[in-house]
Amino acid sequence: MTDTQSELVRIGGVNQETLAERERDLPPSEMRSVLFDVSDLQVAYAGKPALAGVSLDIYRNFVTAFIGPSGCGKSTFIRCFNRMNDLIPSASVHGTVRYHGVDLYGPEVDPVEVRKRIGMVFQKPNPFPKSIYDNIAFGPRVLDMKGNMDELVERALRQAALWDEVKDRLKESALSLSGGQQQRLCIARCLAVEPEVILMDEPASALDPISTTAIEDLMHGLKRDYTIVIVTHNMQQAARVADMTAFFSVKVSDDGKGRTGILVEYDTTSKIFTKPSDKRTEGYVTGRFG
């Protein structure tokens, strides 16, 4: 070692590898594991397209956010992931949504099985008018899941960061809980059937800021075990919780009558909020239009 080199060592170098790791907030694209693979999806209500030409991949153990102005089709889109649109008679879905490589809309696929694996949390908390315990136990009982029910209920409530608040009142009505607690109860109810994916459609828009923070913290914790997809009107929420963000917008037809949702840009959240590629995304996230 030359004198100069030993001098440098004494100053103390910075490990370049550590720096690179610190900078890289997400695994590189070739190391991401694709859970959903959506290709050229189109959803129409009564023949009118609400969403068209959407292709993207949802990665396992990521939080993925869909943002965009009203009417951009983001809620319609998230409902395609667990076939919720099946419940609307006039809705038709074209294109493919593959889950683990299997076409979710294939003839052999059972929508009930799909919704067991892919749970959903809605904008307004919607607990059953039953006890806290029964709300959680309902799904596992219906699905005839094996195991100790008390343990299962506790595990789900713990995962949803609600256990400490409700452990002494499990027999009380779920409706006695605050809005934020009810929403976490709905998340716990969703977790109780051991899904792989949790879809959240505006999960915090009806909640106060403290409850919102609780839900957001929860998402950070849950993504170790689950894949989360969230629709949000609140851009800062997407910026805070999501790893990947997709921006949807509305395309107005030439005659001005048809309004169809389109995917404008899909990238890492940090890219979307610091250096979006598309001018329309930039306009929306900076609040210049949309």
Binding site: A239, T274, K275, T286
Partner: protein, 230 residues
Amino acid sequence: MRITFQQELEELQSLLQEEGQLVLRSLRGALNALRHQDVELAQEVIAFDDEVDREYFAIQEGIQQLLARQTPVAVDLRLVLAMLHVNLHLERAADYCVTIAKLVKLAEALEGDASLVEGLEEMGMRAEEMLIVALESFADRDLERAELLVDLDELIDTANRRLVHDVLALGGKTELREWGLRMILVSRCLERIGDHAVDIGEQTAFLITGEFREFTDASHPDGGSNGRRA
């Protein structure tokens, strides 16, 4: 459209340009004081720094408010970050003007050399030009013009190196040598003002491209890139 927010961004940008004009006045004052050995003017330049500082703090405060209340993102975020840096670079450039003014006071009673002062005046004009290019290209989002600052800086660097030789050539008279040493510091200040102008240019490039890179890299002068993703 977030109208108030956009207005606040516009206002901060014009404050920054105003601060830039103050720095240019300060630099012109320092150069005139140097040329005419005008101690009174040098004192004015020193006092004038309070004006620059006031502007600096106003911009700093405005940026703090904006970050706390508006949560800027994307190009707005880059603009706010760039303004934070440009503000500091301008304030530092003004500090160098003060140092020049102080050196003028220190050298007042000493015998000087007219041709060397002329060389410094020329360097000062280059520094002025660089600040103007830096401020205008930031305002106009003109990447090409911002990159010109590297070439302009090369000229001022060369002049700075040459000045050392000129001082050595002044000869053996103690008084002249002392004066020469002071002038080396003046030259260094002008050279540093040029560096700050280049740094402002780098912020312009960051604002436009979203990538931060140093235009020139002192640790890798042979052109090794130190570019980093934003």
